[in-house]
């Protein structure tokens, strides 16, 4: 998978996103929230890379830093060979046509005072991709693509259900015919029966338009379902990255193993037979992460070495990366 470099659409190198903390009368910087603390990975054209982790692990921040919604502290974000971090404002704006985002909360991410037509048409106008009647036609077509009745174009977001709103968000993301979409927890605010509708839509669109997704979520079952490869994040770093089946059938990092065993399976017979690893305690603060391996404070198999040095994120098998001293 990784042998054909021509297929890499996004290459992230040692990306860091630290948010400074200021204190006192002179507002001196006293520390930083190290939300993303050095992650490197590639995304192949046409694939879905799943990014999972618990709240506060930095997965959404990573997504936003890639899109330059935050100015990353350090690192490189190469999209189709161009480093987005170094781009000037105007060039970056042009680049954004190709990278779009779908947000978690379909209630907060749509302007309540704009009609669906205005919401979906806005990117077309802002980027001068269409004018006048053309905008209207494109919007109607986009609504059809995402399974909404084009006659609803003049309605406001509050007239739609959560699932329909998320479809509006998808239509807006598709307006400029992007090649890469960052999906930031696109289904976690939706009811179970609606989640499947939206996921099926995303899969269909990926086939139809050869889209590449970075799918950020905390739901491991859904990530397994939609992704080709999956990365697991913990406290600002990647702990494991491999193909979906390898990750789920042969997880190597103790955190991945615990995370997988904690996911409930909707089958009482299978669930009762499973061996579960229950992690103690909570995720430490990203302001002051543990020395060495960040997972060591909750790791069931940690040894003294884990406190001394940070394990390298290395390829232990072709295409299987893991950051753990104890994995051979």
């Amino acid at each position: 998978m990784s042998n054909n470099t021509a297929d890499i659409i996004l290459k992230v190198e040692d990306l860091k996103m630290h948010f400074p903390i200021y204190r006192g009368v002179f507002q001196r910087q006293v520390g930083a929230v190290r939300a993303v603390d050095g992650v490197s990975f590639n995304v192949m054209r046409g694939e879905t890379l799943g990014l999972v982790g618990e709240s506060g692990c930095g997965k959404s921040t990573a997504g936003r830093a890639i899109l330059q919604l935050y100015k990353p502290t350090a690192g490189e974000v190469n999209f189709e060979g161009v480093d987005l971090i170094k781009l000037r404002r105007e060039d970056l704006r042009k680049m954004r046509r190709k990278i779009q985002m779908i947000f978690q909360d379909p209630y907060a991410s749509l302007n309540p005072r704009m009609t669906v037509e205005q919401i979906v048409g806005e990117p077309l106008i802002v980027h001068s991709a269409a004018t006048g009647k053309e905008v209207q036609d494109r919007v109607e077509h986009l609504l059809e693509i995402v399974g909404l009745n084009p006659a609803f174009a003049t309605r406001y977001p509050h007239e739609f259900s959560g699932g329909q709103r998320q479809r509006i968000g998808v239509a807006r993301a598709l307006a400029l015919q992007p090649s890469f979409i960052i999906c930031d927890e696109p289904i976690s605010a939706l009811d179970v029966s609606i989640q499947a509708q939206v996921v099926n839509l995303l899969e269909q669109l990926q086939e139809d338009f050869n889209l590449t997704y970075l799918f950020i979520a905390h739901d491991l079952s859904m990530v397994r379902h939609i992704s080709r490869r999956v990365a697991v994040m913990y406290l600002g770093i990647f702990v494991e990255l491999t193909s979906r089946d390898e990750l789920y059938l042969n997880p190597l990092h103790p955190y991945t193993q615990a995370l997988l065993s904690a996911v409930p399976i909707p089958d009482p017979v299978v669930d009762a037979r499973r061996k579960r690893t229950i992690l103690e305690g909570d995720v430490p603060s990203p302001v002051n992460p543990p020395s060495g391996c960040r997972f060591r404070t909750r790791c069931p198999i940690a040894v003294p070495l884990c406190a001394e040095s940070r394990p390298e994120f290395r390829e232990v098998k072709p295409g299987h990366f893991v950051a753990c001293h104890l994995v051979k």
Partner: protein
């Protein structure tokens, strides 16, 4: 045969809204046996929380109204009790934990103060006794340095620990029934596993009955003995847990299970999806409430709302169709 602790019959709850009167719970009947864990599953707005809040008379009125029904607890109808009487049941004999532990805890009172209050109120303990018991309770739910942590405020606790505090609080008066309303929904999956594990342990130690309300069919599979599935304010399927997952018989339950990806899934396939969205009912339907979204719907479904009837031993559904054959039952 264990005794029936709680027997709810024909419960109906409505809410007055500017758009009309919403029929939130439409004649729900169920019972809960001693030591049993009942899972209540459904999507938002299906009436699962309102049912349990009605039983405890925690529905704000107006706009809410318990329009009909009975809820017998040790021979007494909770819905007919005086406010004074129901207050003694709540917290002491039936207690409840909620989804969001941050909003359920008072941010300006210490954890200790909030734990001690019901002990002094319901059990008449002295301050000193209440403090000792609170320490014991916090250690029981797995909070280290319990005595010191009594002095802390809720914001000094993490989300998972706050939910532990809520559980400690709910169990402080040794209730016969614990109602847990989406207790793990706001929590991360590793913390969710900690909490379900804790509740299972406490259930075995203390022997209380539990009603576990959730939208997550996965969580219910691991904790409940009996499950009821709700839709549009009706119970549409009810069964022992193993039979429900082995033989889901209502099209909605089938659809819900089919729309869930599984972490142990091996082959890729499109998820089954139920078209449309859950209803808000402004009047009691005389058709099956699920018919508009049901791929098996036939003429009868549009003429009469099916009652809850047995399809197998201890397994009831409200549906005119046999999903195995696609024909009328």
């Amino acid at each position: 045969m264990p005794d029936i602790l709680l027997d709810v019959q024909g419960l109906e709850t409505t809410f007055k809204t500017p758009d009309g009167v919403v029929q939130a719970v439409n004649g729900v009947s169920f019972d809960l046996k001693e030591g049993e864990t009942l899972g209540v599953v459904g999507e938002s707005g299906c009436g699962k929380s309102v049912t349990m809040l009605s039983v405890l008379r925690l529905i704000q009125s107006p706009p809410g109204k318990i329009a009909a029904g009975k809820a017998f607890f040790f021979g007494q109808d909770l819905l007919q009790m005086s406010n004074e009487e129901i207050r003694h049941v709540r917290g002491a004999q039936i207690s409840m934990i909620f989804q969001d532990p941050m909003t359920s805890l008072n941010p300006v009172l210490t954890i200790g103060k909030q734990l001690e209050e019901p002990l002094m109120l319901h059990l008449g303990m002295t301050k000193k006794q209440a403090e000792d018991r609170s320490t014991e309770l916090l250690s029981m739910v797995g909070i280290p340095n319990a005595r010191d942590r009594l002095k802390d405020y809720p914001h000094q606790y993490s989300g998972g620990m706050r939910q532990r505090v809520m559980i400690a609080m709910a169990l402080s008066c040794s209730p016969q029934i614990l109602i847990a309303d989406e207790p793990t929904t706001a929590l991360d999956v590793t913390i969710q596993a900690q909490i379900t594990d804790l509740v299972k342990r406490l259930r075995n130690e203390l022997g209380m009955a539990i009603i576990w309300i959730t939208h997550d069919l996965g969580v219910v599979a691991g904790i409940a003995q009996r499950v009821m599935v709700m839709y549009g304010g009706y119970i549409i399927e009810e069964s022992d847990v193993n039979d429900l997952y082995a033989n889901p018989s209502h099209p909605y339950t089938l659809g819900l299970l089919g729309s869930l990806p599984r972490v142990d899934e091996t082959e890729r396939h499109r998820l089954y999806s139920i078209e449309g969205a859950p209803p808000v009912l402004y009047s009691r339907p005389n058709v099956c409430p699920f018919a508009p979204r049901c791929k098996w719907a036939m003429e009868h479904c549009w003429n009469e709302n099916p009652p809850l009837e047995p399809v197998a031993s201890r397994h009831n559904i409200a549906c005119w169709v046999d999903v195995k054959t696609g024909r009328p039952r």
